[in-house]
Symmetry: C2
């Protein structure tokens, strides 16, 4: 392609509140927004996406995963069988449409478990047919409340989604492991140089366990991760567990007493207020009121969670415990109605019966003489004890948020470190949670009918592009990895009105394309050399050939983009440039070759 | 891939009322229906589709058309500007969805003129940026009232759609011609061996002219075409014009008379009834009442069309004349209410004022002493004359359906022949019909703002697959052209429990894949040789290698699928097979090479 014919022009500047990667994708002309969260992939973005997709298809084929394509319009009936139709509508996750002649309802694929399982149900008969793997890459739709960060939180995006079907749990675990390996290869090949896999919550997909692949990113990372400094434990903060310090609490004193604490509501305020008594946050029990949207067909309700003052409540853990669709902090007026006090004075004392359940976090087990709210404005209760002031809870639950500095829950030695990442992949063990409602069975070697054991696996391919840009850039623009670069070489003719330069540029362009390289020729006669260099850096193809003052000797300068401003160039003939590039292409890191 | 791992199994039989191509696509396991008009592309179908798409992308790139990707969710606002939102909703053509947080409406892309034009509007500034071409391949949606014929009439399908932007009409015509050439190359490369391009109606897309590319098919063709036996004129029957015989009519006799014609309604019945008087159909004027759904925001209304008895009314011509959204024959009760007579007795006499307009076809011009209805049950009027019994029409319109046997409207010599075809491509000159409402302009060399001149171009890529199958099959199955074959070679191990055969099969499989060929190995130990040969013929990869009784000599048999049952095979060594296939691949018709 020639820059004079290329579309669109680069942009010198974009809105300043964008992240670097998002801004670069706009400036280099990879994407344009059509509506919030809805984008057009422009020619360069399209080329990168094609390469990302090809790499994924190849890695899938290597492991005998069947590439295929499910439809976007998915019939309501099969989504009702798994209960996801109601769930996704209630949480406003899914776009839907209606067929006007038959009035049939369809969901616009957010994922394709139902369609994949239905296909397996119809076509898989025997244990001989197992394991079976389906994979597709195609548009997906999720109704994000607040689309943002370019391709990271989009309403329409492209996803690679795979589905595995096995005879039993062991097979499912083998498949799960296989996809973890496939994903490792894919992320390496597309040029992610910093990614980790972490344990994650399964969310609305369901099943028994899942892992996320995270491209680390201090700037853009929308997910918080905790990893162990000593072992290889890592988890999304929603899922993470941790070991925290448990102080030794003294024996229970005899009587609790109510203390006047005017306007003192938070743990921090209480700590200051009781400075004299040296009451620390771990001597306090915090009570958090939560509203719950249940997954069964019933009204929303409220629960209270009591947790040690220096810890916070993990809403995902509460949601999973209650098997709810959604859990969120109760509104102020709800808190006041239930506790009869202003916000900031809720406590377990006398709350029984006013909320559906009171859940005690494990951190409160063994606490004595603690401070807590007593559901009376401007008052707290001191020296409260289980079995005295309130009944000893029958059960304790693990509901705290793991924090950096806590100990690792696996090795129990290393401290947890906080990192930020972009979720680029997510793998799930689904067990039989889809095959059971959809009656997807096979006949085993003994002639018995058995449910299929499933897994599902997703990579956001458009968000992956943005993660790649995030990890491959410098102050001047993008630095594409060879494997997914829209073009591999930019040939810049410094002065297009110089006939010798123009001619040599054409010659190099023709020669390199003849070698099978993807080349852009900057032949624009209305741009200065400086502007062309700026664009070359911004677009970030792996190599730049500059045709300038040495053109009369038949030489041009070859420079690698990733060496940046201080990078050195090499003066070479047309053939010399071709040889050097082929060496790089064929001889280099196999992961970098096309 | 190995047949033992391949998915899904072939089917021996499918429903008998399917067309051959549709049945083959199901039996060979290319597609499965998820819901009427909604399909999953299974692994073999997916592979063919990938190849078809790659060929199209390549042909587009050769002509510097930019490949990119527009979103599927298209904002209502831009569709309202061109008037297509209301039009497509009124005709129930478009699927729509609502974003639940903002309540914004979206259409599911049936095409992408609005989004493409909006992009051009934002990014094209000057005459220097022109011409500009955008192309994508992606899912499209149309709410078919009666999905049928497999991938031919689907609700969700894949389409290659391109959009051209030029400075003026001449540029638009040049682009239009360029896409005609691109389409020729594409259809040749994918293996359509019988296709023609014909003039077509532009329908809801609008614009000034269009052409359809038709894959000829006597069995499946859903479109009727008329082509000239003498010149290269061809048109869809909706669009076709023709020259028909005009008899010499005698001078007007003085008085018309009402004749009692009890129960005589049709032209054929009238001809028999008036056998004695030798009144032929071309002595009759037929009156057809039509209901019209206007494109403006007003109520539906009725018109009458008067046409010579031996001709029929072309509803598309009427729709275009009235600039209506839809035109269809009026219901019986509407006819009776308007004419005051039973159906079969409508006529121009006294109809004035009862319908919105009476349109006279050109065929009635110059007729004298004709027979027509008089809006009275069981009566017709004979010897009717313009200027006597009814006023001479101020205008005459070309509203007849061209028929086979009519003369060609271009060379005026050849007779028209009727053929049937599958529409695989459609190219349109849009002029400024989208750029005007969307204000898509550029600045010309004189600094003046000008509207962009557009064209749009579509290939149904999934229906194209079915057209390819339709034209490449025999009594045993599909006969894939090399260029789009899912695999190029099927290696059949006749007896998989024979160790020598199994080993040679593996060796050939490895060797051919090493050469870059796409190979399927039929290693199934639970199938007879006969079953394997049947499947090989059904799946129809271009070459079959049979490993059987010559295995002990290290030889296998190579046979070309297209030679059919009588085809001869060649005994060759492993290397010999590789050489012969490479010869075919590299040396053959360049259009057949990958």
């Amino acid at each position: 392609m020639r820059m004079s014919r290329h579309f669109p022009k680069t942009l010198r500047s974009v809105s300043e509140d964008l992240t670097q990667a998002h801004a670069l994708m706009l400036r280099a002309g990879l994407i344009r927004q059509v509506s919030p969260g809805i984008y057009t992939l422009l020619p360069l973005g399209w080329r990168v996406h094609q390469k990302v997709k090809r790499i994924i298809f190849e890695e899938m084929e290597k492991r005998e995963v069947h590439n295929l394509e499910f439809p976007i319009l998915q019939p309501k009936e099969i989504w009702q069988k798994t209960g996801r139709w109601e769930k996704y509508l209630k949480t406003k996750t899914m776009f839907t449409t209606k067929e006007l002649f038959s009035q049939q309802d369809f969901g616009l694929a957010p994922t394709a478990e139902e369609v994949a399982t239905t296909l397996a149900m119809a076509e898989i008969q025997s244990w001989r047919d197992l394991p079976q793997h389906f994979h597709q890459i195609g548009p997906k739709f999720r109704d994000e409340i607040r689309p943002r960060l370019g391709l990271l939180r989009a309403r329409e995006f492209s996803m690679s989604d795979a589905y595995s079907f096995d005879a039993d749990e062991e097979g499912m675990r083998r498949s799960f492991q296989m996809y973890r390996e496939i994903y490792q290869s894919i992320f390496q090949r597309v040029g992610l140089n910093r990614f980790i896999s972490v344990q994650a919550d399964s969310g609305a997909i369901g099943g028994s366990g899942s892992a996320e692949f995270m491209a680390l990113s201090e700037e853009v990372g929308e997910d918080f991760l905790l990893t162990c400094e000593a072992c290889d434990y890592g988890a999304n903060v929603e899922k993470a567990d941790s070991v925290y310090r448990k102080p030794r609490y003294g024996p229970a004193r005899e009587r609790s007493r109510k203390v006047h604490t005017p306007g003192i509501r938070t743990v921090e305020e209480l700590k200051n207020f009781f400075k004299g008594e040296k009451i620390q946050p771990h001597h306090m029990v915090k009570t958090v009121l939560l509203s719950v949207i249940p997954s069964e067909n019933r009204e929303a309700y409220e629960v209270a969670v009591c947790i040690r003052g220096d810890l916070d409540v993990n809403l995902t853990k509460v949601r999973n415990l209650l098997k709810a669709d959604e859990v969120f902090p109760a509104e102020g007026e709800v808190v006041e109605r239930l506790t009869g006090a202003e916000v900031g004075f809720a406590g377990p004392l006398g709350l029984e019966g006013r909320v559906e359940r009171i859940l005690f976090d494990l951190s409160t087990k063994g606490m004595t003489n603690f401070l807590c709210g007593c559901n009376e404005t401007d008052y707290h209760q001191l020296d409260v004890n289980f079995g005295v002031d309130l009944p000893l809870p029958k059960e304790w639950y693990n509901l705290h948020i793991a924090q950096r500095g806590h100990r690792c829950p696996e090795c129990r030695k290393g401290k947890l470190i906080e990192r930020r990442g972009i979720e680029v992949g997510h793998v799930f063990m689904l067990q039989t949670s889809y095959s059971a409602p959809l009656s997807a069975t096979y006949t085993d070697a003994n002639g018995q009918e058995q449910l299929l054991w499933m897994g599902c696996y997703g990579i956001g391919t458009t968000r992956l592009m943005q993660a790649i840009v995030d990890q491959n850039r410098d102050e001047d623009g993008i630095v594409w990895p060879w494997s997914v670069a829209p073009y591999q070489v930019m040939v810049v003719v410094a002065n297009s009105s110089d006939a010798q330069q123009a001619q040599l540029g054409e010659e190099i362009y023709r020669h390199l394309r003849g070698l099978g390289l993807e080349v852009m020729l900057d032949d624009r006669d209305y741009c200065s050399a400086g502007e062309k260099f700026k664009d070359a850096d911004l677009l970030g193809f792996p190599f730049r050939v500059t045709v300038g003052r040495y053109a009369k000797e038949g030489l041009a300068e070859l420079k690698e983009r990733k060496t940046g401003r201080r990078g050195r160039s090499e003066k070479l003939s047309v053939e010399g440039i071709g040889e050097r590039l082929l060496e790089h292409w064929k001889g280099g890191d196999p992961a970098a070759a096309r």
